[in-house]
């Protein structure tokens, strides 16, 4: 059985795949066939994002997972309006977004906010916490007087659990720890009262011990304000922990998408399988690392991108001639899952021998390790 026979190509990923996030609330944002090319110095063009489509729903978390350089941060910048789209459309609450002028941009910003990865560089060192929060409140809530501002700032600080608020408001960024700074970043984003929050690796620069606390805080905020949340990360385990739907990006494309639990427990795409197999796992004492490190000789260095081929084929153990000559589209595996691979029948056979919806539970690490 060929992959196409069991998995039909998905024409419009945003529509044809039922997002598990849809159950949480109404549709907030649609990314439709986003493309972003960067012109490099010597006339070359880098396709950082290629044909990426997905939906964000109020109250739900969509996790976007990929390695550095996979284009996941560019997706966030495109959605936030920080980068210009090469082609594609973004819809907000059902209407296409056109950032034609300053006013439209500012209006968009009161709906969509981006939280940055590095809390050490996202706060201006010369300004106090108060300044960082006052500006968005003034601009988006039009509260100008001190009497109006102060209760709002205090409320914001309490929402991100920086108390006593008055004490923290007077501080400069360098007087705060990394976790406290990131809380300020959250508060600043909330001050615009957005409906969509894009979080670009919001915890990866923080210490391991406080990462979960921050993720839990983000989750609380999502629930309280009914936010549509895009969670971008390189850590697939935290995506499983935190999101409803997971999208896996490789070389600018979404190579697999599906409900977080199903996707991480039974990855279909060879790249997702590799990602899952590579994640550190404390339950895995006596793993390859400890038993003498039998290393599969993989070509992990990124090979030059060849157009019209599966981007993963140089590293893929299942690669065939077709993978080197034709770029696979996203193909539906089940109502909520899809993967872009010609060799799904070989890479993840158990997904197709079961009745739809039933998921096999023997681990998948096998073929790669």
């Amino acid at each position: 059985m060929k992959a196409e026979e069991i998995a039909e190509p998905v024409q419009d990923g945003a529509v044809a795949i039922e997002s598990p996030a849809a159950a949480r609330g109404p549709l907030a944002m649609q990314a439709i066939s986003l493309n972003k090319d960067f012109r490099l110095h010597r006339g070359e063009v880098l396709s950082a994002v290629r044909d990426v489509s997905f939906n964000l729903y109020r109250g739900a978390v969509v996790g976007l997972v990929g390695e550095s350089g996979s284009g996941k941060s560019t997706v966030a910048k495109l959605l936030a309006g920080q980068e210009r789209l090469t082609s594609g459309e973004v819809h907000l609450n059902g209407h296409p977004v056109a950032l034609t002028d300053r006013r439209a941009f500012r209006q968009y910003k009161s709906e969509v906010q981006l939280v940055f990865q590095d809390p050490f560089s996202s706060l201006n060192p010369v300004h106090t916490v108060r300044y960082h929060l006052e500006r968005p409140v003034k601009l988006h809530q039009n509260k100008r007087s001190k009497a109006e501002l102060d209760p709002e700032l205090t409320a914001l600080m309490e929402q991100v659990r920086l108390t006593p608020a008055s004490q923290f408001l007077a501080k400069f960024p360098h007087e705060l720890s990394g976790g406290q700074r990131q809380r300020v970043s959250f508060a600043r984003a909330l001050a615009a009262q957005p409906s969509v929050l894009l979080a670009d690796e919001p915890v990866s620069m923080l210490d391991v011990s406080i990462r979960l606390e921050m993720l839990n805080l983000l989750d609380d905020l999502r629930e309280r304000f009914h936010l549509a949340l895009l969670y971008i990360t390189h850590d697939i385990a935290s995506a499983r922990y935190f999101s409803d739907e997971v999208l896996v990006m490789y070389a600018g494309q979404i190579v697999e998408r599906g409900p977080a639990e199903e996707l991480t427990q039974e990855p279909a795409h060879p790249y997702t399988q590799l990602l899952v197999a590579s994640a550190p796992d404390p339950d895995n004492i006596g793993s390859i690392l400890r038993s003498g490190g039998k290393r599969a000789a993989r070509n992990v260095e990124s090979a030059p991108r060849v157009t019209g081929a599966c981007p993963f084929n140089p590293r893929c153990p299942f690669a065939q001639d077709r993978c080197r000559s034709e770029d696979p589209p996203l193909m539906r595996i089940s109502s909520a899952r899809a993967a872009a691979c010609w060799r799904l029948d070989v890479a993840a056979p158990q997904l197709f021998h079961q009745s739809e919806g039933g998921v096999a539970h023997e681990g998948l690490g096998g073929p790669l390790v």
Binding site: I210, D281, P282
Partner: protein, 380 residues
Amino acid sequence: MTTTAATGTELSGSKASTLGANGGGDEPILDISDFSVVYRTDRGDVRAVDGVNLALHAGEVVGLAGESGSGKSTLAYGSCRLLRPPALITGGSVVYRGRRFPSGVEVLDKRPEELNVLRWREISIVFQSAMNALNPVLSVGDQILDVVEAHMKLSKDEAVERVASLLDFVSIPRDRMKSYPFELSGGMRQRVMIAMALATEPEIVIMDEPTTALDVVVQRDILAQIVELKERLSFAVLFITHDLSLLLELADRVAVMYAGKLVEIASSEEIHHEPAHPYTKGLLNSFPSLRGPRRELAGIPGTPPDLRNLPPGCSFLPRCPYGTTACQDIDMSLAKVATSADPDHVTACPFVLPGTPVPPRGTRSNGAPDGLQPEAISAQ
């Protein structure tokens, strides 16, 4: 020593056998005892490492875990005396007992030029960021050659051949010798660092978060390579990382550090199944797992204490879910965990025995301490 003409100089795999004679012996190859380091600042001394005892045996992988600022890097670099002012070693002893120094060398007594005999020849380091640790204007081959020429008596040709075979060893094509660091990918640079660390066949390799900056797949690959090389060359590894889950897979023993002190040492299995110290438990609870049921995790609320101004007694007390007022009186010395299967399992927390469940999440709001929770102890 002459080598076969065909292959030139090659790295040995036979050190393991020479070590076999004393490999299982009790004498550690690196014995750090009562080691303390402060940073002198305008606003007082920062006690970065405080009275630490740690032993590393030949061929063993010891993991050193803790959050940033816990002193794990200071401990490792301090024991090689590589810390820069205003760092000052205020006491203790670091004894190195290698193949060539069976009677032991006190590192802290060495004069500057004498240290060069130990450095790299006996103890080498894989730095966290290879990009920063490699000289940007020298080719990677020349940088490895520097080490070989400084520590080994080889002819120029032999030295070059050795560099080439070292690159072979870490699966980098030989012609990359002439490449500069900026021409290599992140993974390749880290491999070059590893090749360089092994160039003189040291007995100890300190690895300072060698894979933190890399993507998980590359990270996995490089860790596997390190393990493989360790099996062949049998050096001891001191592996520093904030990622405890990684250590559990990799290390024979794990030492957990908090606020300049070691709070727990045990075998990886023991740390994983029977963590004794609340901080270790917290760290273990900080990693969402890909396998097993999805569970609510809490991490460790709060922030590490100011090292200039530590709370009395246990320095973890303000963040500890089990803390009692009695914790203000303990001195944080390591004591054996009687119930443990590992006879060498020690911890600095005298009150919590292995197996205590972590209290449910949600009782705490922010990083500020909620006050002590004596019932947690009585529940035990």
